[in-house]
Protein backbone atom coordinates (compact mmCIF):
# COMPACT_ATOMS: atom_id res chain seq x y z
CA UNK A 1 0.00 0.00 0.00
CA UNK A 2 2.97 2.30 0.41
CA UNK A 3 3.11 4.36 -2.74
CA UNK A 4 5.69 6.86 -1.61
CA UNK A 5 8.66 4.57 -2.21
CA UNK A 6 9.35 4.64 -5.92
CA UNK A 7 12.13 2.51 -7.27
CA UNK A 8 14.55 5.07 -8.61
CA UNK A 9 15.80 2.68 -11.31
CA UNK A 10 12.54 3.10 -13.16
CA UNK A 11 11.40 6.38 -14.58
CA UNK A 12 7.75 6.93 -13.90
CA UNK A 13 5.79 7.43 -17.05
CA UNK A 14 2.19 8.16 -17.72
CA UNK A 15 0.28 5.93 -20.04
CA UNK A 16 -3.28 5.39 -21.21
CA UNK A 17 -5.51 2.50 -20.43
CA UNK A 18 -9.08 1.82 -21.49
CA UNK A 19 -11.67 0.87 -18.93
CA UNK A 20 -14.64 -0.34 -20.85
CA UNK A 21 -16.69 -0.02 -23.00
CA UNK A 22 -17.53 -3.56 -21.91
CA UNK A 23 -16.16 -3.41 -18.39
CA UNK A 24 -18.53 -4.81 -15.73
CA UNK A 25 -17.86 -1.88 -13.39
CA UNK A 26 -19.03 0.71 -15.92
CA UNK A 27 -22.57 -0.71 -15.60
CA UNK A 28 -23.33 -0.40 -19.25
CA UNK A 29 -21.53 0.52 -22.38
CA UNK A 30 -19.28 3.41 -21.43
CA UNK A 31 -15.56 3.84 -21.91
CA UNK A 32 -13.31 5.51 -19.41
CA UNK A 33 -10.00 6.65 -20.80
CA UNK A 34 -7.59 6.57 -17.88
CA UNK A 35 -4.26 8.33 -17.77
CA UNK A 36 -2.25 6.53 -15.16
CA UNK A 37 1.17 6.67 -13.61
CA UNK A 38 1.78 3.23 -12.21
CA UNK A 39 -1.53 2.60 -10.56
CA UNK A 40 -2.21 6.21 -9.66
CA UNK A 41 -4.88 7.88 -11.76
CA UNK A 42 -3.86 11.17 -13.32
CA UNK A 43 -6.94 11.78 -15.38
CA UNK A 44 -10.26 10.10 -16.18
CA UNK A 45 -11.99 11.01 -19.37
CA UNK A 46 -15.41 9.42 -19.86
CA UNK A 47 -16.10 8.59 -23.50
CA UNK A 48 -19.86 8.69 -23.83
CA UNK A 49 -22.35 8.02 -26.57
CA UNK A 50 -22.28 4.26 -26.96
CA UNK A 51 -25.99 4.11 -26.05
CA UNK A 52 -26.94 7.49 -27.41
CA UNK A 53 -30.33 7.12 -29.10
CA UNK A 54 -31.15 10.76 -29.74
CA UNK A 55 -34.19 10.68 -27.47
CA UNK A 56 -34.38 14.49 -27.44
CA UNK A 57 -34.54 14.56 -31.23
CA UNK A 58 -37.18 11.84 -31.28
CA UNK A 59 -39.23 13.84 -28.80
CA UNK A 60 -39.47 16.70 -31.30
CA UNK A 61 -41.27 14.32 -33.64
CA UNK A 62 -43.53 12.54 -31.13
CA UNK A 63 -46.74 13.43 -29.39
CA UNK A 64 -46.69 13.96 -25.65
CA UNK A 65 -48.22 10.56 -24.96
CA UNK A 66 -45.48 8.92 -27.02
CA UNK A 67 -42.71 10.83 -25.26
CA UNK A 68 -43.68 9.18 -21.98
CA UNK A 69 -42.70 5.83 -23.48
CA UNK A 70 -39.24 7.05 -24.42
CA UNK A 71 -38.47 8.17 -20.88
CA UNK A 72 -38.67 4.56 -19.65
CA UNK A 73 -35.56 3.88 -21.66
CA UNK A 74 -33.42 6.57 -20.12
CA UNK A 75 -32.95 5.68 -16.48
CA UNK A 76 -34.62 2.30 -16.74
CA UNK A 77 -34.28 1.68 -12.99
CA UNK A 78 -36.42 4.74 -12.22
CA UNK A 79 -38.77 4.35 -15.16
CA UNK A 80 -41.88 5.22 -13.19
CA UNK A 81 -40.37 8.46 -11.90
CA UNK A 82 -39.16 9.41 -15.38
CA UNK A 83 -42.69 8.93 -16.72
CA UNK A 84 -44.01 11.00 -13.87
CA UNK A 85 -41.67 13.87 -14.74
CA UNK A 86 -42.98 14.20 -18.27
CA UNK A 87 -46.59 13.71 -17.18
CA UNK A 88 -46.27 16.38 -14.48
CA UNK A 89 -44.79 18.83 -16.97
CA UNK A 90 -47.64 18.27 -19.40
CA UNK A 91 -50.28 18.38 -16.66
CA UNK A 92 -48.90 21.60 -15.20
CA UNK A 93 -48.77 23.17 -18.64
CA UNK A 94 -52.39 22.20 -19.30
CA UNK A 95 -53.32 23.15 -15.72
CA UNK A 96 -55.06 19.83 -15.24
CA UNK A 97 -56.46 19.06 -11.81
CA UNK A 98 -55.08 15.63 -11.00
CA UNK A 99 -57.13 13.44 -8.59
CA UNK A 100 -55.58 12.80 -5.18
CA UNK A 101 -55.80 9.08 -5.82
CA UNK A 102 -53.42 9.41 -8.73
CA UNK A 103 -50.98 11.53 -6.73
CA UNK A 104 -50.85 9.05 -3.88
CA UNK A 105 -50.45 6.01 -6.13
CA UNK A 106 -47.73 7.75 -8.10
CA UNK A 107 -45.85 8.55 -4.93
CA UNK A 108 -46.15 5.02 -3.54
CA UNK A 109 -44.93 3.45 -6.77
CA UNK A 110 -42.23 6.09 -7.06
CA UNK A 111 -40.86 5.15 -3.65
CA UNK A 112 -41.12 1.44 -4.47
CA UNK A 113 -39.11 2.22 -7.58
CA UNK A 114 -36.52 3.98 -5.46
CA UNK A 115 -36.22 0.97 -3.16
CA UNK A 116 -35.95 -1.37 -6.15
CA UNK A 117 -33.27 0.80 -7.70
CA UNK A 118 -31.30 1.11 -4.48
CA UNK A 119 -31.43 -2.64 -3.79
CA UNK A 120 -30.10 -3.31 -7.26
CA UNK A 121 -27.42 -0.66 -6.76
CA UNK A 122 -26.50 -2.22 -3.41
CA UNK A 123 -26.14 -5.65 -4.95
CA UNK A 124 -24.12 -4.49 -7.92
CA UNK A 125 -21.96 -2.14 -5.90
CA UNK A 126 -21.08 -4.91 -3.48
CA UNK A 127 -20.07 -7.05 -6.42
CA UNK A 128 -17.91 -4.25 -7.83
CA UNK A 129 -15.85 -4.22 -4.66
CA UNK A 130 -15.70 -8.00 -4.40
CA UNK A 131 -18.66 -9.00 -2.23
CA UNK A 132 -20.50 -11.45 -4.46
CA UNK A 133 -23.28 -12.36 -2.05
CA UNK A 134 -24.81 -8.88 -2.11
CA UNK A 135 -25.83 -9.36 -5.71
CA UNK A 136 -28.15 -12.21 -4.81
CA UNK A 137 -29.54 -10.50 -1.73
CA UNK A 138 -30.27 -7.33 -3.68
CA UNK A 139 -31.93 -9.07 -6.58
CA UNK A 140 -33.95 -11.32 -4.26
CA UNK A 141 -35.70 -8.36 -2.65
CA UNK A 142 -36.00 -6.34 -5.84
CA UNK A 143 -37.80 -9.25 -7.46
CA UNK A 144 -40.69 -8.84 -5.02
CA UNK A 145 -41.14 -5.21 -6.05
CA UNK A 146 -41.00 -6.15 -9.72
CA UNK A 147 -43.74 -8.70 -9.07
CA UNK A 148 -45.93 -5.96 -7.61
CA UNK A 149 -45.25 -3.81 -10.67
CA UNK A 150 -46.02 -6.67 -13.00
CA UNK A 151 -49.36 -7.25 -11.35
CA UNK A 152 -50.16 -3.55 -11.39
CA UNK A 153 -49.29 -2.63 -14.94
CA UNK A 154 -47.96 -5.69 -16.71
CA UNK A 155 -44.36 -4.54 -16.95
CA UNK A 156 -41.53 -5.18 -14.57
CA UNK A 157 -38.95 -2.65 -15.63
CA UNK A 158 -40.13 -0.18 -18.27
CA UNK A 159 -43.42 0.40 -16.60
CA UNK A 160 -45.19 3.05 -18.58
CA UNK A 161 -47.91 3.24 -15.97
CA UNK A 162 -48.28 7.02 -16.09
CA UNK A 163 -50.08 8.87 -18.81
CA UNK A 164 -50.63 12.62 -19.04
CA UNK A 165 -53.74 13.01 -16.90
CA UNK A 166 -53.24 10.13 -14.50
CA UNK A 167 -52.57 6.42 -14.59
CA UNK A 168 -53.20 3.98 -17.37
CA UNK A 169 -55.19 1.61 -15.17
CA UNK A 170 -56.35 1.57 -11.61
CA UNK A 171 -54.25 -0.42 -9.15
CA UNK A 172 -54.72 -4.16 -8.87
CA UNK A 173 -56.91 -5.30 -5.93
CA UNK A 174 -53.90 -7.07 -4.43
CA UNK A 175 -51.67 -4.00 -4.63
CA UNK A 176 -52.20 -2.70 -1.09
CA UNK A 177 -51.77 -6.09 0.53
CA UNK A 178 -48.72 -7.05 -1.47
CA UNK A 179 -47.04 -3.71 -0.85
CA UNK A 180 -47.64 -4.05 2.88
CA UNK A 181 -46.31 -7.58 2.80
CA UNK A 182 -43.24 -6.36 1.00
CA UNK A 183 -42.60 -3.60 3.53
CA UNK A 184 -42.96 -6.08 6.39
CA UNK A 185 -40.57 -8.44 4.59
CA UNK A 186 -38.04 -5.78 3.66
CA UNK A 187 -37.92 -4.42 7.20
CA UNK A 188 -36.44 -7.74 8.26
CA UNK A 189 -34.11 -7.90 5.25
CA UNK A 190 -32.62 -4.40 5.22
CA UNK A 191 -30.82 -4.95 8.54
CA UNK A 192 -29.24 -7.98 6.85
CA UNK A 193 -27.67 -5.64 4.34
CA UNK A 194 -25.97 -3.79 7.15
CA UNK A 195 -24.87 -6.99 8.86
CA UNK A 196 -23.50 -8.43 5.65
CA UNK A 197 -21.71 -5.45 4.17
CA UNK A 198 -21.89 -2.12 5.98
CA UNK A 199 -19.93 -3.22 9.02
CA UNK A 200 -17.45 -5.31 7.07
CA UNK A 201 -13.92 -4.04 7.78
CA UNK A 202 -12.57 -4.79 4.30
CA UNK A 203 -15.53 -3.07 2.71
CA UNK A 204 -15.16 -0.01 4.92
CA UNK A 205 -11.48 0.26 4.06
CA UNK A 206 -12.36 0.21 0.39
CA UNK A 207 -14.95 2.95 0.81
CA UNK A 208 -13.92 5.35 3.56
CA UNK A 209 -12.00 8.39 2.40
CA UNK A 210 -12.26 7.25 -1.21
CA UNK A 211 -13.68 9.53 -3.88
CA UNK A 212 -13.97 12.61 -1.72
CA UNK A 213 -16.32 15.32 -2.98
CA UNK A 214 -16.70 18.57 -1.04
CA UNK A 215 -20.03 20.33 -0.72
CA UNK A 216 -18.89 23.30 -2.84
CA UNK A 217 -17.70 21.00 -5.61
CA UNK A 218 -20.91 18.98 -5.43
CA UNK A 219 -22.94 22.12 -6.09
CA UNK A 220 -20.57 23.36 -8.77
CA UNK A 221 -20.65 20.05 -10.62
CA UNK A 222 -24.42 19.93 -10.37
CA UNK A 223 -24.36 16.76 -8.31
CA UNK A 224 -27.76 15.64 -7.13
CA UNK A 225 -29.42 12.74 -5.41
CA UNK A 226 -27.42 10.63 -2.96
CA UNK A 227 -24.15 11.87 -4.52
CA UNK A 228 -24.90 15.46 -3.49
CA UNK A 229 -26.42 14.49 -0.15
CA UNK A 230 -23.38 12.38 0.73
CA UNK A 231 -21.45 15.65 0.60
CA UNK A 232 -23.86 17.45 2.90
CA UNK A 233 -25.58 19.30 0.09
CA UNK A 234 -29.31 19.49 0.70
CA UNK A 235 -30.62 18.79 -2.79
CA UNK A 236 -33.65 16.54 -2.35
CA UNK A 237 -36.22 17.71 -4.89
CA UNK A 238 -38.87 15.92 -2.84
CA UNK A 239 -38.17 18.37 -0.01
CA UNK A 240 -37.46 21.58 -1.90
CA UNK A 241 -39.97 21.29 -4.75
CA UNK A 242 -42.46 18.62 -3.63
CA UNK A 243 -44.64 17.08 -6.31
CA UNK A 244 -47.52 14.56 -6.33
CA UNK A 245 -48.32 13.56 -2.73
CA UNK A 246 -44.85 14.24 -1.34
CA UNK A 247 -45.99 17.43 0.38
CA UNK A 248 -48.39 15.36 2.51
CA UNK A 249 -45.84 12.97 3.97
CA UNK A 250 -43.19 13.35 6.62
CA UNK A 251 -39.72 12.12 5.86
CA UNK A 252 -36.15 13.09 6.56
CA UNK A 253 -33.72 14.22 3.96
CA UNK A 254 -30.65 12.08 4.59
CA UNK A 255 -27.50 14.16 4.74
CA UNK A 256 -23.95 12.99 5.40
CA UNK A 257 -21.10 15.42 5.55
CA UNK A 258 -18.14 13.10 4.96
CA UNK A 259 -18.38 13.33 1.17
CA UNK A 260 -16.67 10.01 0.52
CA UNK A 261 -17.91 6.81 -1.07
CA UNK A 262 -18.98 5.43 2.28
CA UNK A 263 -21.16 8.49 2.94
CA UNK A 264 -22.91 8.04 -0.41
CA UNK A 265 -23.40 4.37 0.47
CA UNK A 266 -24.93 5.25 3.85
CA UNK A 267 -27.25 7.82 2.30
CA UNK A 268 -28.76 5.23 -0.02
CA UNK A 269 -29.21 2.65 2.73
CA UNK A 270 -30.92 5.25 4.95
CA UNK A 271 -33.06 6.43 2.04
CA UNK A 272 -34.57 2.98 1.71
CA UNK A 273 -35.83 3.29 5.30
CA UNK A 274 -37.29 6.72 4.51
CA UNK A 275 -38.96 5.39 1.36
CA UNK A 276 -40.56 2.62 3.40
CA UNK A 277 -41.79 5.22 5.86
CA UNK A 278 -43.33 7.29 3.05
CA UNK A 279 -45.10 4.23 1.65
CA UNK A 280 -46.42 3.28 5.10
CA UNK A 281 -47.91 6.74 5.58
CA UNK A 282 -49.79 6.53 2.29
CA UNK A 283 -50.65 2.89 1.68
CA UNK A 284 -53.63 2.73 4.05
CA UNK A 285 -55.02 6.06 2.92
CA UNK A 286 -55.25 5.83 -0.84
CA UNK A 287 -58.17 8.17 -1.57
CA UNK A 288 -61.12 6.94 -3.59
CA UNK A 289 -61.68 8.49 -6.97
CA UNK A 290 -60.77 8.29 -10.59
CA UNK A 291 -57.42 7.01 -11.73
CA UNK A 292 -57.22 9.51 -14.56
CA UNK A 293 -58.78 12.64 -15.95
CA UNK A 294 -59.68 12.65 -19.59
CA UNK A 295 -57.48 14.67 -21.86
CA UNK A 296 -57.81 15.38 -25.54
CA UNK A 297 -56.60 12.58 -27.74
CA UNK A 298 -54.21 15.09 -29.28
CA UNK A 299 -52.53 17.05 -26.54
CA UNK A 300 -51.40 20.51 -27.52
CA UNK A 301 -49.43 22.42 -24.94
CA UNK A 302 -49.92 26.17 -24.79
CA UNK A 303 -47.16 28.37 -26.13
CA UNK A 304 -44.43 28.80 -23.58
CA UNK A 305 -41.73 27.10 -21.58
CA UNK A 306 -42.28 24.52 -18.88
CA UNK A 307 -39.83 23.06 -16.45
CA UNK A 308 -40.42 20.28 -13.97
CA UNK A 309 -37.90 18.58 -11.74
CA UNK A 310 -38.35 15.30 -9.90
CA UNK A 311 -36.13 13.17 -7.69
CA UNK A 312 -35.30 9.88 -9.32
CA UNK A 313 -33.24 7.24 -7.55
CA UNK A 314 -30.16 8.87 -9.08
CA UNK A 315 -30.98 12.49 -8.40
CA UNK A 316 -32.60 15.44 -10.03
CA UNK A 317 -34.25 14.78 -13.37
CA UNK A 318 -35.40 17.92 -15.13
CA UNK A 319 -37.79 18.10 -18.06
CA UNK A 320 -37.62 21.35 -20.01
CA UNK A 321 -40.25 21.74 -22.72
CA UNK A 322 -40.39 24.64 -25.14
CA UNK A 323 -43.75 24.59 -26.84
CA UNK A 324 -45.00 26.60 -29.79
CA UNK A 325 -48.57 25.44 -29.25
CA UNK A 326 -48.43 22.42 -31.54
CA UNK A 327 -48.82 18.74 -30.73
CA UNK A 328 -45.06 18.20 -30.53
CA UNK A 329 -42.58 19.99 -28.33
CA UNK A 330 -40.41 22.49 -30.20
CA UNK A 331 -37.50 21.48 -28.01
CA UNK A 332 -37.39 19.04 -25.15
CA UNK A 333 -34.39 18.72 -22.89
CA UNK A 334 -33.86 16.07 -20.26
CA UNK A 335 -31.53 17.23 -17.55
CA UNK A 336 -30.41 13.82 -16.44
CA UNK A 337 -28.85 13.26 -13.02
CA UNK A 338 -26.32 10.73 -14.28
CA UNK A 339 -24.89 13.15 -16.83
CA UNK A 340 -23.92 15.70 -14.19
CA UNK A 341 -22.76 13.01 -11.79
CA UNK A 342 -20.42 11.36 -14.30
CA UNK A 343 -18.84 14.72 -15.09
CA UNK A 344 -17.40 14.87 -11.58
CA UNK A 345 -15.77 11.43 -11.81
CA UNK A 346 -12.45 12.90 -12.95
CA UNK A 347 -12.50 15.31 -10.04
CA UNK A 348 -12.97 12.64 -7.37
CA UNK A 349 -10.79 9.93 -8.89
CA UNK A 350 -7.56 11.81 -9.62
CA UNK A 351 -4.74 10.79 -7.30
CA UNK A 352 -6.37 7.53 -6.29
CA UNK A 353 -5.88 3.99 -7.52
CA UNK A 354 -7.79 2.10 -10.19
CA UNK A 355 -9.45 -0.04 -7.53
CA UNK A 356 -10.67 3.12 -5.82
CA UNK A 357 -12.06 4.36 -9.11
CA UNK A 358 -14.26 1.27 -9.25
CA UNK A 359 -15.56 2.01 -5.76
CA UNK A 360 -16.16 5.69 -6.57
CA UNK A 361 -17.91 4.83 -9.81
CA UNK A 362 -20.10 2.31 -8.01
CA UNK A 363 -21.27 4.88 -5.48
CA UNK A 364 -22.07 7.40 -8.22
CA UNK A 365 -24.69 4.82 -9.26
CA UNK A 366 -24.71 5.67 -12.92
CA UNK A 367 -27.05 4.22 -15.49
CA UNK A 368 -25.49 4.69 -18.90
CA UNK A 369 -28.69 5.15 -20.97
CA UNK A 370 -29.57 7.93 -18.54
CA UNK A 371 -26.27 9.68 -19.33
CA UNK A 372 -26.39 9.15 -23.08
CA UNK A 373 -30.13 9.57 -23.64
Amino acid sequence: MDTTTVNSNFKSEEYFINMGPQHPATHGVMRLLLTIDGEIIKKVEPDLGYIHRSIEKMCERDSYQQIVHLTDRMDYLSSHINNEAVCLTVENALQLEIPDRVKVIRTIIGELTRIASHTLWWGVMGMDVGALTTYFYGFRDRELINDIFEETCGARLTMNYNIPGGLMFDIHPNFVKRTKDFIAHFKTKLPEYDRLLTGNVIFQKRMKGVGFLSKEDAISFGASGPVGRGSGYSCDVRKHHPYSALDKVKFNEILKTEGDSFARYQVRIAEMWESMSIIEQLIDNIPEGDHQVTTNAVIKLPKGEFYQKVETARGELGVYIISTGTKNPYRLKFRSPGFSNISLLNHIAVGEKIGDLVASLATLDIVVPDIDR
Binding site: L48, G49, H52, S54, E56, K57, M58, R61, N92, D217, I219, S220, F221, G222, S224, Y233, S234, C235, H240, H241, P242, Y243, D247, K303, G304, E305, F306, Y307, K309, E316, G318, Y320, I322, T324, Y330, R331, K333, R335, F339, S340, I342, S343, L344, H347, D372
Partner: protein, 191 residues
Amino acid sequence: MDSMKDFKKESMTNEALQNIINSWFPNSISKIVAAEAPTETEISETIESVSTNGLEFTEEGSQFLNITVQAELLHKLMSHLKSNSETHFDYLFCLTGVDWGEELGVVYHLESTTHRHTIVVKVQTKDRENPTFDSVCDIWATADFHEREVFDFFGIKFNNHPNLKRLFLTEDWDGFPLRKDYVDEINMVIK
Protein backbone atom coordinates in the same frame (compact mmCIF):
# COMPACT_ATOMS: atom_id res chain seq x y z
CA MET B 1 -48.38 24.30 -8.07
CA ASP B 2 -48.49 24.57 -4.27
CA SER B 3 -44.79 24.04 -4.24
CA MET B 4 -44.35 27.09 -6.42
CA LYS B 5 -46.17 29.23 -3.85
CA ASP B 6 -43.96 28.08 -0.98
CA PHE B 7 -40.91 28.67 -3.04
CA LYS B 8 -41.99 32.22 -3.93
CA LYS B 9 -42.76 33.04 -0.31
CA GLU B 10 -39.30 32.25 0.98
CA SER B 11 -37.21 33.78 -1.75
CA MET B 12 -36.76 37.24 -3.15
CA THR B 13 -39.41 38.61 -5.48
CA ASN B 14 -38.63 38.70 -9.15
CA GLU B 15 -38.79 42.52 -9.16
CA ALA B 16 -36.18 42.74 -6.41
CA LEU B 17 -34.01 40.31 -8.31
CA GLN B 18 -34.44 42.32 -11.48
CA ASN B 19 -33.43 45.55 -9.72
CA ILE B 20 -30.28 44.01 -8.31
CA ILE B 21 -29.24 42.64 -11.66
CA ASN B 22 -29.94 45.93 -13.43
CA SER B 23 -27.79 47.77 -10.91
CA TRP B 24 -24.73 45.85 -12.17
CA PHE B 25 -25.23 47.11 -15.68
CA PRO B 26 -25.44 50.88 -15.93
CA ASN B 27 -26.97 52.28 -19.09
CA SER B 28 -23.68 53.34 -20.59
CA ILE B 29 -23.67 50.40 -22.95
CA SER B 30 -26.92 51.32 -24.64
CA LYS B 31 -25.10 51.81 -27.94
CA ILE B 32 -24.63 48.08 -28.34
CA VAL B 33 -28.34 47.50 -27.95
CA ALA B 34 -29.21 50.12 -30.51
CA ALA B 35 -26.87 48.49 -32.98
CA GLU B 36 -28.02 44.90 -32.55
CA ALA B 37 -31.36 44.94 -30.85
CA PRO B 38 -32.62 41.34 -30.71
CA THR B 39 -35.74 40.80 -32.74
CA GLU B 40 -38.77 39.13 -31.34
CA THR B 41 -38.39 35.39 -31.52
CA GLU B 42 -41.01 32.89 -32.47
CA ILE B 43 -41.32 31.48 -29.00
CA SER B 44 -41.28 34.39 -26.58
CA GLU B 45 -42.61 37.21 -28.63
CA THR B 46 -43.89 39.34 -25.78
CA ILE B 47 -41.21 41.21 -24.00
CA GLU B 48 -42.46 43.11 -21.00
CA SER B 49 -39.69 45.56 -20.54
CA VAL B 50 -36.86 46.37 -22.86
CA SER B 51 -34.19 48.05 -20.83
CA THR B 52 -31.32 49.85 -22.40
CA ASN B 53 -28.48 47.99 -20.76
CA GLY B 54 -28.43 44.87 -22.91
CA LEU B 55 -30.71 42.85 -20.63
CA GLU B 56 -34.34 42.00 -21.24
CA PHE B 57 -36.50 40.67 -18.45
CA THR B 58 -39.70 38.74 -18.94
CA GLU B 59 -41.93 36.38 -16.99
CA GLU B 60 -44.24 35.78 -19.92
CA GLY B 61 -44.81 32.12 -20.80
CA SER B 62 -42.48 30.75 -18.14
CA GLN B 63 -42.69 29.95 -14.45
CA PHE B 64 -39.33 31.65 -13.80
CA LEU B 65 -37.88 35.09 -14.36
CA ASN B 66 -36.15 35.12 -17.74
CA ILE B 67 -33.27 37.34 -18.77
CA THR B 68 -32.16 37.60 -22.36
CA VAL B 69 -28.64 38.92 -22.41
CA GLN B 70 -26.34 40.20 -25.15
CA ALA B 71 -23.61 37.67 -25.89
CA GLU B 72 -20.85 40.15 -24.98
CA LEU B 73 -22.30 40.60 -21.50
CA LEU B 74 -22.97 36.92 -20.81
CA HIS B 75 -19.86 36.09 -18.86
CA LYS B 76 -19.97 39.26 -16.79
CA LEU B 77 -23.63 38.69 -15.91
CA MET B 78 -23.04 35.06 -15.02
CA SER B 79 -20.09 35.73 -12.73
CA HIS B 80 -22.09 38.44 -10.98
CA LEU B 81 -25.06 36.11 -10.57
CA LYS B 82 -22.82 33.53 -8.92
CA SER B 83 -20.60 35.75 -6.78
CA ASN B 84 -23.07 38.36 -5.52
CA SER B 85 -24.24 37.35 -2.05
CA GLU B 86 -27.81 38.54 -2.64
CA THR B 87 -28.35 36.52 -5.78
CA HIS B 88 -25.81 33.71 -5.20
CA PHE B 89 -26.89 31.44 -8.04
CA ASP B 90 -24.42 28.66 -7.33
CA TYR B 91 -26.31 25.78 -8.93
CA LEU B 92 -26.51 25.56 -12.71
CA PHE B 93 -29.08 22.80 -12.98
CA CYS B 94 -29.80 22.85 -16.68
CA LEU B 95 -27.97 24.09 -19.74
CA THR B 96 -29.90 23.71 -22.97
CA GLY B 97 -29.03 24.47 -26.55
CA VAL B 98 -31.96 25.72 -28.62
CA ASP B 99 -32.39 26.34 -32.32
CA TRP B 100 -34.99 29.12 -32.45
CA GLY B 101 -35.25 29.02 -36.22
CA GLU B 102 -33.19 32.04 -37.21
CA GLU B 103 -31.14 32.24 -34.05
CA LEU B 104 -29.16 29.66 -32.16
CA GLY B 105 -29.08 30.06 -28.45
CA VAL B 106 -28.31 28.64 -25.06
CA VAL B 107 -30.63 28.61 -22.06
CA TYR B 108 -29.15 28.48 -18.56
CA HIS B 109 -31.33 27.49 -15.60
CA LEU B 110 -29.84 28.71 -12.35
CA GLU B 111 -30.87 28.13 -8.76
CA SER B 112 -29.47 29.43 -5.52
CA THR B 113 -28.94 26.78 -2.87
CA THR B 114 -29.00 29.41 -0.12
CA HIS B 115 -31.91 31.64 -1.21
CA ARG B 116 -33.74 28.96 -3.23
CA HIS B 117 -34.70 31.28 -6.05
CA THR B 118 -34.46 30.42 -9.71
CA ILE B 119 -33.62 32.41 -12.80
CA VAL B 120 -33.34 31.59 -16.48
CA VAL B 121 -30.67 33.28 -18.59
CA LYS B 122 -30.91 33.16 -22.36
CA VAL B 123 -28.37 34.16 -24.93
CA GLN B 124 -28.71 33.91 -28.69
CA THR B 125 -26.95 34.74 -31.90
CA LYS B 126 -27.99 35.04 -35.52
CA ASP B 127 -24.66 33.74 -36.73
CA ARG B 128 -25.42 30.17 -37.77
CA GLU B 129 -22.07 29.59 -39.45
CA ASN B 130 -19.90 30.27 -36.46
CA PRO B 131 -22.02 30.74 -33.34
CA THR B 132 -19.82 31.49 -30.35
CA PHE B 133 -20.48 32.36 -26.74
CA ASP B 134 -18.24 32.67 -23.73
CA SER B 135 -17.91 29.50 -21.69
CA VAL B 136 -19.15 29.50 -18.11
CA CYS B 137 -17.00 26.47 -17.17
CA ASP B 138 -14.92 28.61 -14.84
CA ILE B 139 -18.04 29.60 -12.91
CA TRP B 140 -19.85 26.24 -12.72
CA ALA B 141 -17.88 23.05 -13.29
CA THR B 142 -20.98 21.27 -14.57
CA ALA B 143 -20.94 23.50 -17.65
CA ASP B 144 -17.96 21.55 -18.98
CA PHE B 145 -19.95 18.53 -20.10
CA HIS B 146 -23.15 20.44 -20.79
CA GLU B 147 -21.39 22.84 -23.16
CA ARG B 148 -19.75 19.94 -24.93
CA GLU B 149 -23.20 18.43 -25.41
CA VAL B 150 -24.48 21.70 -26.88
CA PHE B 151 -21.42 21.88 -29.16
CA ASP B 152 -22.06 18.31 -30.25
CA PHE B 153 -25.72 18.80 -31.16
CA PHE B 154 -25.88 22.47 -32.17
CA GLY B 155 -22.34 23.37 -33.23
CA ILE B 156 -22.25 26.27 -30.81
CA LYS B 157 -18.69 27.04 -29.80
CA PHE B 158 -17.68 28.22 -26.36
CA ASN B 159 -14.69 30.52 -25.86
CA ASN B 160 -12.20 29.42 -23.22
CA HIS B 161 -13.68 25.94 -22.89
CA PRO B 162 -10.85 23.62 -21.81
CA ASN B 163 -11.83 20.61 -23.89
CA LEU B 164 -14.37 21.50 -26.54
CA LYS B 165 -14.95 18.42 -28.66
CA ARG B 166 -17.82 16.15 -29.51
CA LEU B 167 -19.22 14.27 -26.53
CA PHE B 168 -21.74 11.71 -27.76
CA LEU B 169 -21.24 11.59 -31.52
CA THR B 170 -18.08 10.53 -33.28
CA GLU B 171 -15.51 13.13 -34.34
CA ASP B 172 -16.28 12.60 -38.03
CA TRP B 173 -20.03 13.14 -37.70
CA ASP B 174 -21.31 15.53 -40.32
CA GLY B 175 -23.58 18.34 -39.14
CA PHE B 176 -25.33 19.07 -35.90
CA PRO B 177 -28.40 16.87 -35.45
CA LEU B 178 -30.55 18.95 -33.13
CA ARG B 179 -30.50 21.98 -35.42
CA LYS B 180 -33.83 22.45 -37.13
CA ASP B 181 -32.22 22.56 -40.59
CA TYR B 182 -30.32 19.30 -40.10
CA VAL B 183 -30.97 16.89 -42.93
CA ASP B 184 -31.48 13.39 -41.60
CA GLU B 185 -30.24 11.59 -44.70
CA ILE B 186 -30.21 8.06 -43.44
CA ASN B 187 -33.55 8.49 -41.67
CA MET B 188 -32.23 7.80 -38.21
CA VAL B 189 -35.16 9.69 -36.78
CA ILE B 190 -38.00 9.13 -39.21
CA LYS B 191 -40.42 12.01 -39.51
